[in-house]
């Protein structure tokens, strides 16, 4: 059975698109045929992170409007032939998406793909609503700060009451917490919430912690999802996340200061 994963947050700029690209690539690399859809109509940028922006002919809205077939619009990834990207339109606005249209496309994708990753726009308006409506699993991307955690909580409320599964009284969407841009140093200084703080507020299953990392910017500049940078901390964090999602048991990393022990030995505060 295909599964639809929504990557969502409420708050903007927390790392949804970075995460969507990384986990879609991770799932495909593990041998699962995966599609990743950009729901951020008007602000196209998943294609930039996936490095396929110069191969976009048709987009999500063209398919909904019947101006192109799904096969014409899907772009095969240059690094992995099990991964396909459905880009967003830059020229339309969010009203171009309809629940019926999105539902049809997802149904069609489900016949052919194992995982369908939906990169949600920020906010709780129509675009975000459509991205999560048909989901089976939700990856809640949160930064360790109060406003982001609050917005995630709000989004969790919406997932549990306004989604298709909720409306049809089916088993609820499975919710996972991805704590991103985590910096143990700043947690120690009291500038950021700790993993425990966030867990305490959201009481949600933690799928993984992604450290604040330069490698993310490098990856997006070069148009390759950061998970392909196997040496980088963020890349490894995403690899762990994909493995855990697929049922592997991996200990959490990147929660403590890398130099924690060093720090203690040399009396760093």
């Amino acid at each position: 059975m295909a599964r639809i994963i929504v990557v969502t947050s409420g708050k903007g700029g927390v790392g949804k698109t970075t995460t969507s690209a990384a986990i879609a690539m991770g799932l495909a690399k593990k041998g699962h045929k995966t599609a990743v859809i950009d729901f951020d109509v008007g602000l196209r940028n998943l294609d930039l992170i996936m490095g396929c922006e110069r191969r976009v002919v048709y987009d999500f809205v063209n398919v909904i409007n019947g101006e192109a077939t799904l096969n014409q619009a899907l772009i095969r990834d240059k690094n992995c032939n099990l991964l396909y990207i459905l880009p967003a339109s830059q020229t339309r606005d969010k009203d171009a998406l309809s629940q019926e249209g999105v539902g049809k496309i997802l149904d069609e994708l489900k016949k052919d793909f194992k995982y369908i990753v939906c990169d949600s726009p920020a906010g709780i308006e129509k675009g975000a609503h459509l991205a999560m409506y048909f989901a089976d699993d939700a990856f809640i991307v949160t930064n360790p700060e109060v406003s982001s955690v609050r917005d995630s909580d709000r989004m969790l409320g919406i997932l549990s009451s306004k989604s298709r599964r909720a409306e049809q009284n089916e088993e609820p969407i499975k919710e996972y917490l991805l704590l991103s841009r985590y910096s143990p140093d700043r947690v120690k200084l009291g500038e950021m919430l700790s993993v425990d703080d966030v867990q305490e507020i959201l009481s949600l299953h933690l799928l993984g912690v992604i450290p604040e990392s330069k490698s993310v910017l490098n990856a997006s500049n070069s148009g390759t999802p950061v998970i392909l940078d196997e040496k980088s901390d963020a890349g490894q964090a995403y690899a762990d996340i994909v493995a855990r999602y697929l049922g592997e048991d991996r200990p959490h990393r990147f929660i403590d200061d890398k130099q924690g022990l060093f720090g203690k030995l040399f009396g760093r505060k």
């Binding site: 609050r150 709000r154 969790l156 409320g157 549990s160 009451s161 609820p172 009481s203």
Partner: protein, 276 residues
């Protein structure tokens, strides 16, 4: 979906009327001085902005009219809307006031005698009401959520009930999942929550409220005026607690002191917080 309903258009009804009970704050006025009303209302809103934001509201002019104080409904409505509340009904108004309200698209809630009787009883049973009668001239009481019969008004706190109110009053509603920011739960009887209530969430019950988790949102027990109602929780960090219209906001709560199991009840119109 649309094709389905088109096909079925001639066979099955696509609409149905149901009677639902809603909890709506009622603004009881004891002065016709709109400027003072605005000031005091603003102060109240300031204490719990989230609670009042876009809240529907019924205003009650019965006390005013008893005192022969006339008030300009258009002006009053303007002030209420300006403060971000949405008036959805007038009660206890005179013929001319009702006419004014109707022209503004505000329905008239004919003060059913029985209902007003119940309301009066509630009023004398709450601290809010007693402040209203003991303090000086212009005043307005804390909005006291109380049920109004409405139809077709979409509100998240809606609890569909076709049964008699007496029959549902003994019900206990059990919620097993966390109540998240932006969500609202209304229980016609007792409300038991086996998870946390997040900041920005709101839970309301006509009876008692039990929260077996952290209570960080707003909890309102005895919303129909039951002064015997209590709130129990495993850790009190609430934004607002209220029993029968008597409320405290987090600023009054010294919340750090109560992050442990407590119960809250009403004693001489004052909320008492006690360790369990």
């Amino acid at each position: 979906m649309s094709t389905d309903s088109q096909q079925n258009a001639h066979q099955s009804p696509v609409l149905e009327f149901k009677s639902s009970t809603f909890s709506v704050p009622v603004l009881v006025l004891a002065s016709n001085d709109v400027i003072t009303i605005e000031q005091q209302l603003q102060e109240k809103i300031h204490q719990a902005p989230e609670f009042f934001k876009n809240s529907p509201l019924v205003f009650d002019l019965q006390e005013l009219n008893k005192l022969d104080l006339d008030i300009d409904v258009t002006e009053l409505t303007h002030v209420i809307r300006k403060l971000g509340l949405l008036p959805i009904g007038i009660r206890g108004g005179g013929a001319q006031q009702n006419q004014q309200a109707l022209e503004l698209g505000i329905p008239i809630h004919s003060g059913h005698i029985a209902r007003d009787g119940v309301y009066a009883a509630n009023q004398s049973g709450t601290g809010a009401a007693s402040t209203a009668t003991s303090s000086g001239a212009p005043k307005q009481q804390a909005p006291e959520p109380e049920p109004e019969l409405e139809s077709g008004h979409d509100h998240e706190s809606e609890q569909e009930s076709t049964a008699e109110p007496q029959a549902v009053a003994v019900n206990t509603t059990i919620i097993t999942h966390p109540v998240r920011s932006g969500q609202r739960i209304y229980a016609a009887g007792d409300l038991v929550i086996l998870a946390q209530v997040s900041a920005g969430a709101e839970i309301l019950a006509e009876g008692n409220i039990h929260v077996y988790g952290s209570l960080r949102g707003r909890a309102l027990a005895g919303v129909q005026g039951n002064t015997e109602a209590r709130i129990f929780c495993s850790a009190l960090q609430a934004e607002l607690i209220s029993i029968a219209g008597n409320y405290k906001v987090s600023e009054d709560l010294n919340s750090a002191a109560h992050i442990r199991p407590v119960q809250i009840y009403l004693q001489n119109h004052t909320l008492v917080i006690k360790d369990i």
